[in-house]
Structures are given as structure tokens and as C-alpha cells.
Symmetry: C2
């Protein structure tokens, strides 16, 4: 995937996504000693970067495939992203969702025109339900993070960030399923001579950190993290990219995630989800090593129940 | 105050304030049928538009006056604004604050280098304390809203909004003490041929609404509103401007203020204070009368205790 290919992908999805603003903060610059540039994907359509990858994956289908729709399993942002992207492009989206998923998340998917198929609340049941939908409808399965088109789409946030600030030394992202991290790496490698990519990961769901050490995909031992977007495991499409190019994975504790979330709300006046704050918490934890550098941070999303906050 | 004078004021304060971004929202456009442009003063230094007026008032002092400092009475955003503006310009700021003001507000003022003088928690005690400080120090008193320089400074948010979007039909602001509303009116009259200004006001603190009807300054009968920045009364410097030019004052109930606050947090991913949401609540309540129009909204500030939300 070279620069020209990524540029084509970016141009292709542009009509369907927002070019989100990049904000700066004297406060965060001051407490870190780092020059920070926050790419606000919480302002993205449906409230998260996932809109980019979902859009790219659907646009890449054949006319025949589009006519039969798409299917995924997710109870989080990718469910909403696939539903909204499909609606924008005029394609049906089937979403396998746990029956005990919060009503507000189901309503969001329905609001974007998604067709929910309920299943039991475990990974195997969700995959079986998605398989069943594929068989019954002929819909194309699109994985939330372990899919080349999804990975390339997620990378377009970093392309825009580097277009706006070409001299970044680092970009920080959170890592969950690995789609955003792998996409950001591909973009940074193509659009910058020097920009390295570092990921923040909850210590309580540190599959990526351990995978990097062992050299093969490790699974999460627990998923007890408030960063609900980062409970998933890496996959065989994104891990090779991450393994080869990531400059580091920084694990952060739950209290660090909560503190970072609150700081961003209070000082930057931005509603961000805890999964996004993981990248900021990683910057705060690693600040001595990046002092004086220009550092982009992908604020991955802002979908959070404001009536039920951890502070 | 003509366009050239206002332009001079704007240029003078520019080095001390942020040019805040203007955001749009498909969601709010859709539910209102109005084309909305949100001027995000919650991203302003110290988190509110008050930084503009405080800066202008201090810059307008003589060298002799500056050497003796400034004084105000406020427990809200103007206390922080005057402290930070004074610090930026190299002037002392004395703030008369009720002794029972929240510790977080006192710390914010102290953090910006302000000198707090505590007093009893009522209007007379605060004014007496401010008088005493003036006598003892020679500091110049600067009123949070009823001061020409403060009014002109607050108007610069609307100048920027109209520079970015010259074809606005209306600008909505909240009204409390009247400084932002009067300043916005002066700016709209000078920088647009057609732009009218409408204010939102809490029904529970509706002095401006009743003053407009009676033609003289009426006092608030209650201040039982969550919009804590809007509990103050109009003054003789701003009321004449408002009386002559405001296109309407729309009263909103407490539940409308809370609902609007939550909507902005959830859908625009912006941390705004309830006082700001009053302007949005007024847009929502008045949407039928401004359908299809281009409407600016001043998001006045984002200083809110995120651990203590009304939803």
C-alpha cells in the first residue's frame, strides 16, 4: 500500500466522512512539555474514526456484493459506523449484536438504518450469527478491525493530520483490535519521512503489548477495562504491520485512563470516550521520552453515556 | 462605537485571546431546520468569552492605572477572566469572592495569579469589599458586564463569527448581566447589513425579558436556575443597547436548559456549561420562526464541574 493508493482511498471516502479539526491545548503542552496536536475523530460522523474504515470497505465492494448488503458483529462503534456508512452508500447493513447490549446502542444502530440480529453475548455466538446472516442473505462480512480495507480507511485520519502538520515526530493512537494502529502506521510511513507511531493500551487488556514481545498474536487475559472499545484482540491482517513498524506500546492503568478522560473533558472541553483517553494517558506516562517533540494524538471517539461517568 | 473602532479593539486583544473555531452539526441542523454555526467560546482561554472583555478593559487603562491593578467582584467566569487577562498583561488582579464560593473556583483564580479577598455571600458585601480594595490599593474597578470596554470586548466573538460567516441572518446569545448580548449587538450592527441578535434567558431569572417589556431595568425575582452565569441583572451601560436593538428575548425553562446541555454534550461532543445551552434551548424553542435561516450561536463557555452534572 503506497502513498498513491492511500491517497486514492482518502479521496474516495471524502464525500462520506468529515475532515475533522485538529485542536491544540496550552494546558496539555504545559504539563507534558510536548507540542501536541489532537485529531478530533470524536467530531467524526457517528462520533468515531470507525466511520472511515467502514465507508472504505463498503465502497470497495462490487455492485453485486453491494446489492446483497454487508454484515458485521459488534456492539460498539463499528456497528454504528457500518450502519451509517451503508445507509449513506445505499446498502443494507446487518449487525449481529448481543441481546443484552445497551438499548441506547441498539437504538443508535437502528437510527442509522441498520438491521439488528440478536444473539447470545459471547464471541462464538456472535460469529455464528454473522455466519448465519451471510449464508441466508449473501451479505459480505466486514470485520471491525482485521480487514485490509478497514485498516486503510482508518489510516485516513493520520493522512489528514499529517497534511495539516507535516512535521510531526510521533502519532499516538489507542490500540484495541488494531485497525486504527495499523492504518495509522501505513499512513505515517507513506506521508512522512520521520513520523513514528506509538500506541496506548489498557494494562488490563494488553494483548498487543504481549504480542509484540512474543512475536505472535496473544489473546487478552482479561477485558476488565473502562476503555470498552479496546477489549478486542489483534488479528492476522493488522498484527504483521504493527509488529514490524510500531515504535512502542505503552500500557496504562484504569486510574490513568479515568484521570486522562476527566482532564480532557475539563481542560479541552471535549467529550471523549475512555478508549480515546488511553492514547493521552500514554502520552502523559511517556512524556519524558518525547519532550520538545511534535506529537499528534488521534482522539478516536466521543460516544459515551454522559449520564454514567466514572468521575 | 463604529466598525473601525470595534476593529481596533479586536486587533488590540488578538494577541491575548484565541480565535475560537466555528463548528457545525448535521444533527442540530436536522432537528431545527435551521443552518447553525456554533462559535465555540468554550475553547476560549480560561474556558469562556469573558476573557475578551476583561482583556480589553485592562488594555484600555492608563500606565498609572495598570501599575495599581484591577479589582472586580465575581465568583464565576469573570473572576477567572480578569485574573488571567491581568496576568497576561502584567497587572495585579484583586477579586472579591464570597467565602463560601466553591474551592475549585477559588483555586482557578489563584492558579491565574489572582489575589482573592473573601467576603460574605451577598451582593452588598461583595460590592463593599470591592470598594474597600479600591480605596486601599488604588486598583481600578472593572464590572463583569456593565462596563463599556467589557461590552466591546465581548463583541469580538461576534466579529470573528461574522468574518467567518458574513451571511448570518441571526446570532443567538445567552443573556445574564447583558455584556455579551450588548457587545454582540454592536458587532452585528457594524459588521453586517442584516444580522439580528436574539437572546435566550432562563425563565427563572428573566430580568432582561421583563426589562424589555417595561422599558426600564427590572431585577430578577428569583435566581433559581442551573445556568449559574445568568443570575445577574442588566445594567445601565448595556440595557440601552439591548432595549434599542435586540430582536427578541426567548425565555426557557430549566428542563429545556438541561436537555439542551445534554444534547450538545452527546451529539456535538462539546463540554458546555448550562448557561451556554440557554442560547441553544432558545433556538430549539424558536425554530419555527427561523426555519431555513443561517443562525450563529455563541457557545459562551465550558466551565462546569464534570463530577456533578444535572443528568
Amino acid at each position: 500500500m503506497n502513498k498513491t493508493d492511500l491517497q486514492k482511498i482518502h479521496n474516495r471516502i471524502k464525500p462520506y466522512v468529515h475532515r475533522t479539526p485538529v485542536l491544540t491545548s496550552h494546558f496539555f503542552n504545559k504539563i507534558t512539555g510536548v507540542e501536541l496536536f489532537f485529531k478530533c475523530e470524536n467530531f467524526q460522523k457517528m462520533g468515531a474514526f470507525k466511520m472511515r474504515g467502514a465507508t472504505n470497505a463498503i465502497l470497495n465492494l462490487t455492485k453485486e456484493q453491494k446489492s446483497k448488503g454487508v454484515v458485521t458483529h459488534s456492539s460498539g462503534n463499528f456497528a454504528q459506523a457500518l450502519a451509517l456508512a451503508a445507509e449513506s452508500i445505499g446498502v443494507k447493513a446487518f449487525i449481529a449484536m448481543p441481546e443484552n447490549a445497551p438499548q441506547v446502542k441498539k437504538e443508535a444502530v437502528l437510527g442509522y438504518g441498520g438491521i439488528i440480529k440478536e444473539c447470545d453475548s459471547n464471541a462464538i455466538a456472535r460469529e455464528m450469527e454473522a455466519d448465519k446472516i451471510q449464508l441466508e442473505t449473501g451479505a459480505t462480512f466486514i470485520h471491525p478491525s482485521n480487514d485490509d480495507d478497514v485498516i486503510h480507511g482508518q489510516g485516513t485520519a493520520a493522512i489528514e493530520l499529517l497534511e495539516d502538520y507535516p512535521n510531526l515526530d510521533y502519532i499516538f493512537t489507542p490500540v484495541g483490535g488494531g485497525g486504527l494502529l495499523a492504518g495509522t502506521i501505513l499512513a505515517a510511513n507513506s506521508f512522512s519521512e520521520k513520523c513514528k507511531v506509538i500506541a496506548g493500551e489498557p494494562a488490563n487488556a494488553d494483548d498487543a503489548y504481549r504480542s509484540l514481545i512474543s512475536g505472535k498474536i496473544e489473546l487478552n487475559r482479561t477485558t476488565h477495562t473502562i476503555a470498552d472499545g479496546l477489549r478486542t484482540n489483534l488479528g492476522d491482517r493488522n498484527f504483521p504491520i504493527i509488529k514490524e513498524h510500531v515504535a512502542g506500546i505503552i500500557r496504562v492503568e484504569e486510574n490513568e485512563i479515568i484521570n486522562a478522560t476527566k482532564l480532557i473533558w475539563e481542560r479541552m472541553k471535549l467529550v471523549v470516550e475512555p478508549s480515546s483517553a488511553v492514547a493521552i494517558a500514554a502520552v502523559l506516562k511517556n512524556k519524558e521520552n518525547i519532550k520538545g517533540q511534535k506529537v499528534g494524538v488521534i482522539i478516536s471517539g466521543g460516544n459515551v453515556d454522559v449520564s454514567n461517568l466514572p468521575f
